[in-house]
Structures are given as C-alpha cells and as structure tokens.
Symmetry: C2
Subunit: 407 residues, 2 copies
C-alpha cells in the first residue's frame, strides 16, 4: 500500500499543540504591515535546524544555534524590518528577544528560537518588541497566517503549507510557513522557514531528516544567487500525535521524510515563484547525470543564469543560453550528448538534441513559455542521476525593488 | 627612471604593420550595422590567445586554437550577428571563413584567426561573408573603428585602446579593440578582444604575457556572471618596431607586460562600464587579503552580487549587501575585521568598520554613489594581498535587452 499524503489547511498551527500570532509592533513604519511573529507549542518539542553557511551571520542565527544545541525548544519569535546583523549589540538584542518571550510564557529562555529579517547593519530597537509582547501573546491561536504576514518582507503572497499522513495508524501532521524572496540562494537552509509537526520523533532523527531534506528542497532554490546572512530553517516536533517515537531509520522515518519533503518542496516552489519581481516559476529538471552532484550543479547553474532568467521573462526559447550555463557549471559534461526541452501546461517542445539546435515551431515555443510555470528539461544522457532546481525569471521589478530597498 | 606609457589613437591599427576593415555584409538585417571585421598584418606575426573555459565552445574557438598552436598568425576575421555555436556544420563554416581570407590575401589558411559572436544555435550562412570579401579587403586601412563597429553586438560604445612605450630605445605600440557586453564573466579570456603590437617578442613569451595579464584584467570583469561560449582574446606581434626580440623574462618583458596591462585594464573597464543596460562602472578593490586568490574571489563575489549591483543602480549605500557577498564568497575571511568604504570623484565615505556599521551621512553617501564610476573599497585587514574586479550596476535595461534578444 502506498503512503498517502493529504494537503490540509492551517500552516504551522495544523499539527496538534501549536498556536501562532502575528502583530504590528512598530519596527516597520507602515502600520498595516505586521512585523512580529510568535509560534508556541503547548509542550516542549524536539527541535532541529539548518542555518546559513555565510561567514557573516546574523546575531539571531548565533543565538538560535546555541538554543537548539540540546535538541529542545518550545517557541519561535521572529521580527521583520531589521535583520539584526552586523550590529555590535546584536547578540544582546537577540538574547533579549528570547528573554521577553521566556518571561511572558514561563518557558526557559534557552527553549526560544529567535530569527530576524530585513535590512542589515542598522541597530534593532528592542523597545517596540518589548512593548508588543502582551498583544503578541494575546493573539495566540489558530493564526498561522498572521505569523506568516509578520515575517514577510518583499514577499507578495503568504507561503503556508500543511500535510496530513499516518504513522503506525496515528494521524500526524506537518505544517510550515516561509518567507523569501530576495537574497535567496541558500546553502544548508533558506531565508526563514518554520516547520511544526505533532509526530513523535527524537531530536536526533529530526535533525537527520531536516538536514537531508533541504538538499532537495530549499538548497535547490535560487532567486538571485545571493546567500542571506540570516537563513534559518527550524522544525519543532510536539509528539502529540501519539505515534511510536521515531528513534531510528525505520519505515516510519522514511514516511515522515516523504511528508516533510512534500511540505518543503511545496514551500520551495512558493519561494521561487514569489522571487523578488518574479513573474514565473522556473524549474530546471536535470536527468541522465553521472552523479547526484553533477545533476544538482547543472540544474542550479541553469536556474541561476541571468541570461536564462531574462529569456524566460521574455518567453524567448533561447536555449543556447541553457547550453551555455551547462557548459560553465564546472562539472564534467559532454555537450554533444545534451538534450533540452521546454515544458509547461501548454505542452513540451524539444529545442536541442545532442548539443545541436533542431528545427522547432517558434510559435508553439512562445505559447509554452508564456505560461507562469515553466520547466526546462535537460537530459545529459550520461548516467542515472537526476535533480531539480527551483528559480524564477529576472524582471524589471527585481531591479526596481532592489534599487532602493532601504528607503 | 620610471617606465612611461602614453595613450595614443588608432586602436589595433596604431602599431606598425596593421590595417583593419569593417563592413555590413548582410548577416544582420539592419544595413547600418556592420557585421564583418578584418585585421591584417603586413608580415607574419607571433600570435597568442586565451579562450573560454566553457565546455560548450563555439566552432571558431576550436578552429582558432588549432591555427595559433604554432605561434604564428597574420589575420583576424570576425563576424557578429551569429556565434556559430552548437551548429552541426559549425567547424566547416569556421574553416570556410579562414579559407576565404586566405584565398583573397595569399596567406596560409592556418595563419587566419576566426571569431564569431551573436546568437547561439542558429546556422551561420557563409554566403554573405563570401560575397563581402572584396568589399572587406578594399576597406583595409587605418580603420580600427570600422572593425570595432563590426564586432559590436549590444555594445553601445566602441572600445578601442592604444598605447606607446619604449623598449631598448625603440618606440613600440600596443593596440586593441573589444566587444562586451552581455554573457560576460570570463575565465581565462573575455568575449572578443583583439590586440596588436609591433614589439618584437617570441610567440612563447607573448603567450606567457597574455596568460598572466588576463588574470588581473579580463578575468576580473563580470557583467552578468554568464561565461560565454565564444570568449576569445588574441594578440598579434608584428615585430616591426625593431626592438631586440623579447625571448626571456627580462626588463623589456616586464615593461611590455606593463604596457599590455595598461591596455587590457583600459578595455576591461570599458567592457564593464558598457555592460548590458549598465549605467555605472563599479570597481571593487580588495586589500588586506591573506592570499591573492582570496582577494580575487572576494572582489568578484561583491561585483557579481545582483543585490549589490541593484543597490548601486539606486545609489543606495546598502553596505550590508557587500558584507553578505563577502561572507558567501567561499574563502576564509574574518567578518569582524572587514572595513568597507564607497568612493567616487565626489569623495570617499567609510560605512562599515570591523564588521559593524558606523554612523555616516546618507546625504554624502548618495552624492558619492550618484556618480557613474564607483569604487567599493574592502579592507579584509588580514594580509598583504589585493585585487580589483570590474563590474556594473543591474538595471531595467539589462532585463529589457535580454528578455527578447533573438527578435
């Protein structure tokens, strides 16, 4: 019998034991934009996280790594509007955010995960956060969307996911919220992703599941090739579903990983499609690679190419740029074996066979590429490995958004 | 006495023995756009070249590598409008271009360098080139600008350089023309650069000089991070200046290298400043690095960051993005030692000291960044190595140009 995964509503609040809240505390000038989020579990949770590999790390990343080192956490607090990065008082402020949540909830400060997103290098004022604590806690409930709205920056659509599945006859759920959408080219994590589950799983196995998962989900996303200083992906497991705790790589673990990947790939696509200024989700699916690494490197090279991204914006079947990006990816590829097709809901059109262009209908290609979800299919015809990368097109809007982000 | 380099007019025709021509032969629809260039030497020359590292190589790159393998060449023929890349008849067509020049000039086919630039994956029709040979040769003269106009694609300004210097009391010259301006992130060479000199130098030393030179000039340029399939940088040395032939790494060799670097850095800046859609030349000068490699990698990481480029377009002193790009460059850097300043003809403003932001006048920063030549100064304070990378801002115009390049 195949393992069934069912999408459900509720985001991070879908799993048993979790509530969320999101408010405007005043870090942002626009009063209609929420800027402070809280996710709480009713019980201490197994916790795991993956973080930016950037040598310049936000202060919240440093503090959160310390706090989940023991595999336990119970709350996540996150502000937008300021990344609390490259500030000489950053660690102190991040610790204060945790202390405020601890004081209000009665849980230990070390069980609070903290994250911040926004501009780098401007001091984060703790006062609006302290002043907002009462309202933040008062808002706790089935409010994943509020929390999501509070962590969004240049995101244009909220990104929530939740899925239901069974482990040993017990109904379990995983939920998540995410923010993108610029400075997105994660390595071991992406911007901010908070996941919850009521499945019972040890913190050790939870970390293994998450670390493996991001290799095919968030780490395969690129919006602009810039790796953020604050990338954080954390998951809390309340255990309230009542399944037999997963403590080894058994069938339940593998099914949990499938459900987790369902949620993370869903959020990955949402992040890519909502990439700053993006008008389209672009997926590059590489098959026939000699190694998994080669498949991943080629897929990301194509998805990151500014020229490919601009061609997709223009719905231009300029496959030469795809070949070019494969050629400079830095892995051993035989260009004379490469096939390329473009695909969308309007059909699929081969444009390059064994490294050379073939005759194709420009009209049909245009029809396919005018859609808002495009797949670039690359067969290297040299092995059995495959990988898919998630990206977006490059548009006027990306330039506009980033030309004067701080004002 | 210090070595003197004097800029002169004439581009590739400035050195003794060289003539050039550029015509419209019909590869491009627009009759006002030249599309075929020829550079001829009156005598056989020592020749050297560096080429794209992209695994997908244009057919002209393959043919030219064969033709200069013996260190001798006498002519360069180049078309724009079509890259003759990823075509199953590409090698045959590239050879035919050389044969046409050989037949008309009487020099051996193997002494002709061939290059092509333009769209990838569309067959190159030899007929307009064959039909244009008479006009092309009739136009030979002091016409470096015509040749330059014929190799330009999305370039908006012609890029020529020539410099005069003395070796052993003899007046020598180096001249060059270049095209950019998209798909520019060279490795061992950049798009198309043709250099000439009348200095007498062995082909072996000429290759050494060129290979070393591009490490600090063209290889430090990035417009969009895309490495072309057709990157070619060739130099011909006629020896007509009458200096004692350079056959070893002596003082004359070192002075020749200085003059060469003067010309190549000049062209590098011109390529960067005219990057597709660019409104500004951005230089990132890294000092205090632990190694030369670290200095170069950090400088290129900053110059390639889409977010830094967009901030420069908006004249926004968003130095956090510079720190971020340093952090993910992939080399060992201590973020807490990094100083960053912005500089232009309007002055210099420090914005980050030892990894943390400092108070600065946004007004003064804006004034500095509104200029069209900006330097981002990064001191890693960890060693004695330095490097400078050349790039440009990211603009609406880049997206427009590349959204539908083929139509």
């Amino acid at each position: 019998m195949s393992f069934k995964i069912q999408e459900v509503d509720g985001g991070v609040c879908a799993p048993a034991g979790f509530t969320a809240s999101g408010i405007h505390c005043g870090l942002r000038k626009n009063k209609d934009k929420k800027d402070l989020a809280l996710i709480m579990s009713s019980v201490p949770c197994a916790a795991a996280g993956v973080f930016t590999q950037n040598l310049v790390k936000g202060a919240p990343v440093v503090v959160t790594k310390q706090h989940i080192a023991d595999g336990t956490a119970q709350a996540i607090v996150c502000n937008s509007g300021n990344a609390n990065t490259c500030n000489d008082d950053g660690i102190r402020v991040a610790n204060e955010m945790c202390a405020l949540v601890a004081a209000k909830s009665g849980i230990p400060e070390e069980n609070v995960i903290v994250a911040s997103t926004g501009v780098i290098g401007q001091k984060l004022d703790i006062k609006p956060i302290a002043d907002g604590m009462d309202e933040l806690f008062a808002g706790l409930g089935d409010n994943a969307l509020d929390a999501e709205m509070a962590i969004m920056t240049t995101d244009t659509v909220p990104k929530l996911v939740a899925a239901e599945f069974e482990l040993g006859g017990k109904v379990c759920r995983i939920g998540g919220i995410a923010k993108g959408v610029g400075m997105v080219c994660p390595n071991m994590a992406t911007n901010l992703i908070f996941l919850t589950t009521d499945a019972a799983i040890s913190s050790e196995m939870l970390q293994k599941a998450l670390s493996a998962d991001v290799q095919t989900s968030f780490n395969m996303v690129s919006v602009d090739g810039d790796q953020s200083t604050n990338d954080t992906c954390c998951i809390l497991a309340s255990g309230l579903a009542g399944n037999a705790e997963i403590c080894e790589k058994n069938a339940d673990y593998r099914n949990f990983c499938k459900a987790l990947n369902y949620c993370t790939v869903n959020l990955s696509k949402k992040i890519a499609k909502d990439g700053e200024g993006a008008s389209k989700l672009i997926q590059c699916a590489v098959t026939g690679a000699k190694s998994l690494k080669a498949a991943k490197v080629v897929a990301k090279s194509v998805i990151k190419s500014s020229l490919v991204k601009a061609a997709m914006f223009g719905s231009d079947a300029n496959w030469g740029r795809v070949l070019c990006a494969i050629g400079y990816a830095g892995v051993d590829v035989d260009p004379l074996k490469v096939d390329v097709s473009f695909r969308s809901c309007k059909g699929e059109i081969p444009v390059c066979v064994q490294g050379y262009g073939i005759e194709f209908s420009e009209e049909k290609a245009k029809e396919i590429l005018l859609e808002d979800e495009i797949e670039i299919l690359v067969n290297l015809n040299s092995g059995a490995y495959k990988a898919t990368a998630f990206g977006c097109d490059l548009t006027y809007e990306y330039v506009r958004i980033n030309g004067d982000y701080r004002s």
